[in-house]
């Protein structure tokens, strides 16, 4: 199988995809370290975050256009992996509803020190450089997942 070639049966592509993911991880790690030197409510923090947001917007636009083009050729979405909901997916829906409900409860309760929201918990993590680099890296990874899946 060529590194970037088509797959047959259970044979997985080697090289190309792995190289792209490795490159994304290295860039993401470096960018997260860079972001850890910034502080909220400063121009540097605005610029570093905005650059990632713009990159995410461009990548999403490109991905949507690529999929819509492929969908004209293949009704299943172009890559043959049309997703289906199953009853077990409801576990994730229930978890998302529980997190959202608890966040709302904490958000509407006072004082914030007694009812910490996810933001307040994240602020605790952001208070150290390593913590901020980890949090920023996790946010970038989530964006990468959303754009590439």
């Amino acid at each position: 199988v060529r590194p970037d070639g088509p797959t047959h049966g259970t044979v997985r592509p080697l090289g190309g995809e792995r190289r792209r993911v490795t490159a994304a991880v290295i860039v993401g790690l470096g960018y997260s370290v860079l972001a850890s030197f910034t502080h909220p409510f400063t121009l540097n923090a605005d610029l570093v975050t905005a650059a990632a947001v713009v990159a995410g917007a461009l990548a999403t636009t490109w991905q949507i256009r690529r999929r819509s083009t492929a969908a004209r050729v293949r009704p299943d979405g172009g890559d043959g992996t049309r997703a289906r909901w199953t009853p077990l997916s409801l576990v994730w829906v229930a978890l998302a509803a529980a997190v959202t409900g608890w966040e709302l409860f904490c958000f509407l309760s006072q004082p914030r020190t007694r009812y910490p929201t996810l933001s307040a918990l994240l602020d605790s993590l952001d208070s150290t450089r390593v913590g901020k680099a980890v949090a920023f890296g996790a946010w970038l990874a989530l964006g990468f997942l959303l754009v590439t899946r």
């Binding site: 909220p40 947001v53 049309r82 997916s89 994730w92 996810l118």
Partner: protein
């Protein structure tokens, strides 16, 4: 246990639930959908993908810039 500790315990349980569900997905070898599978389902349509990316953008701006 103070009120704050009780709140943190619930946050911890919710986090453990997410980790447990993802672990179940890995162990079940596809029978139980993982987070990646759910995300793929949500991003199948452009509207779903756009909404999730918008939420991601807001989260990053809220957490790291403002």
């Amino acid at each position: 246990v103070s009120g704050r500790h009780a709140i943190l315990v619930v946050w911890g349980l919710l986090g453990a639930g997410v980790v447990l569900a993802q672990t179940a997905a890995l162990v079940s070898k596809g029978r139980f959908p993982g987070l990646g599978t759910v995300v793929r389902r949500l991003t199948y349509r452009p509207v779903g993908r756009s909404l999730l990316v918008l939420a991601w953008m807001w989260l990053g701006w809220h957490a790291f810039a403002r």
